[in-house]
Symmetry: C2
């Protein structure tokens, strides 16, 4: 198994040169959003995150102004959802070329505004600049009750692994958009939503959580390393995958679980629940008409595997993650390598 | 006087499409950082700001990696200083081209780290991406006691106008860097610091405050519009301007107050103090070995003027501000228009 994760090395190369704040609760890699002790009388931690749209714009993956705005808000709110925060709002930094069309800005702004409404939140402020290329970043802030801390660490042997909803849509959206633009998914079928209200329930129950913005296997790889545990997944792809993802994979002749492996994920939450709390959790979830999907269990060990009817298939999620770092900027090469890897495992041969 | 400020129109074109958060204390344009009510038992407001380096990089104004990192932190902390916040920390979003040199990142990181130490603060987290061009934005957060709110509005007739320190260095730094690179200022003479500790004293005394990051006249124009007042400035340039700014202007044959008018400012604070509190304020400032500079007074009316021994010269600060929007991306044209404008006023003929 590949344990030299390029993304981790890149982040630590910078982070190691900074002094850690005494107010910061989480260590590096331990949470989707930074958790800050506000001191004083506050009964909440501040949750803070920043995320930019870079490769998604340069590759043409997001090109409609409404979608660009929507995604800028969603990628940031999703990190708040993964720590169970109540969002306070979003700051945006935008840089436009001087020849940006007149319709672009209002449409992008509407995308941001609509995604904020979905998250029950607001744009608090921002910064606008004139640049050579379109460039967008956001920063979301929220509050988490001190007694309901939810981070990426905390999973224990025997815990159940869940997804907040069916996955794989982000992956097939990207595949069609980049390789078969004539078949691309209508934007209205994509537009993912940050799982804010689910995160607020989860903070009372989950032992760990992370969003699937970089794909389910990237998420499992991170959680497995932070928790030093082993995840065994069921091979029930019909249950786990979004119907559109299943259909696109079938039509293209791809193993359907491939749509969990690409780096363009959804904004579902992947989380673990102890068996003792599972019943209460599912009852409360059902009450809000939310039906999380059981995908596996936590075992002793270190790694990720898929249990089929016949055998246990080990998945080198470290290698999958590094692939998106090394060839991710060349979508064609990236997709071919990923497909070859998926076929080699022999799952769904 | 020009009252159609392009920068304001550009910001409002976006902001008008967003719903204002019920937790947000300030209206648009009313504060350098957004002030958010955290609810619950908190005795502080959250102060939040985001600022990016865009034109500063594309123009080559900042080119050393250390300076780039330093400025990324300083531009964000300076907005916290202007609302008198105690900083909690900084989030950074960086996007590098894949061929960025190996020395660049550690040097830039050291610049961020050193500026954080100067501000008594920390990097809390961030996001790294691979992009076509270098792109950097930051987001700073802090806390302000609810009983010491300091914003851009609140100035009253009769208040004294101060700068936290001598100005004009940012302007001459930019002039030399862009037009006479053979004479450029050593980086060590520039490296501006966010006025965090001064801001924390000011929040107890000032009726309004704003930083001079876009130049002193840009700041006065904003404050004059937010407060609907008139600022009369003394023509004591020797006292008001940084010795290097005075010397560069003398050597180049420019009116020295020109260095208050360009859009590349310093990170001083411009603020107003009521005459009743002036003595106590100056005493406390002196105790921390800080000597703010009196530059003028607030009068009834609407505008900005300079009082010379002979006459009152009206300055169309709205026109100065629009100039940086319309021709700011062409430094040569911008500088020529600004110089022509400055000479026309007849101050320091």
């Amino acid at each position: 198994m590949n344990n030299n994760i390029l993304e981790i090395m890149k982040i630590e190369r910078m982070a190691d040169r900074f002094i850690k704040s005494p107010y910061k609760i989480n260590n590096i890699h331990e949470a989707d959003a930074e958790l800050i002790d506000l001191g004083g009388n506050s009964d909440s931690y501040l949750a803070l995150t920043t995320d930019a749209l870079v490769e998604e714009l340069s590759s043409g993956l997001y090109d409609s102004p409404f979608l660009i705005g929507w995604m800028l808000a969603t990628i940031n709110f999703s990190d708040l959802a993964a720590v169970g925060a109540d969002p306070l709002g979003l700051l945006i930094t935008v840089s436009f070329p001087s020849d940006q069309s007149d319709e672009f800005i209002p449409k992008m702004t509407d995308g941001i505004s609509d995604a904020c409404k979905e998250a029950g939140s607001f744009v608090l402020g921002g910064d606008t600049n004139e640049g050579k290329t379109l460039s967008l970043s956001g920063c979301a802030v929220g509050l988490v009750p001190k007694n309901s801390l939810m981070m990426r660490n905390g999973a224990r042997k025997g815990d159940k692994v869940y997804l907040s909803g069916a996955a794989g849509l982000g992956s097939v959206y990207a595949f069609l958009r980049l390789f078969q633009p004539e078949n691309k998914l209508p934007e209205s079928l994509y537009l993912p939503m940050a799982r804010i209200k689910e995160g607020k329930l989860l903070r009372k129950f989950a032992t760990c959580a992370m969003d699937t913005s970089d794909g389910v296997f990237h998420t499992l790889d991170t959680l497995m390393r932070v928790n030093r545990c082993y995840f065994v997944l069921h091979d029930e792809w019909q249950k786990m995958l979004h119907p559109i993802a299943l259909e696109v994979c079938r039509a293209q002749g791809f193993p359907s679980w491939l749509s969990l492996a690409s780096v363009h994920g959804e904004f579902e939450l992947c989380f673990t629940i102890s068996p003792e709390k599972e019943y209460d959790f599912l009852s409360e979830a059902a009450r809000m008409e939310w039906h999380p999907i059981l995908i596996g269990e936590v075992e002793d060990g270190f790694g990720v595997g898929v249990q089929t009817a016949e055998r246990r298939v080990e998945i080198d999620t470290g290698m999958i993650r590094n692939m998106s770092e090394t060839v991710g900027s060349n979508p064609d090469k990236y997709f071919k390598e990923l497909l070859a890897f998926a076929r080699e495992t022999g799952i769904e041969r």
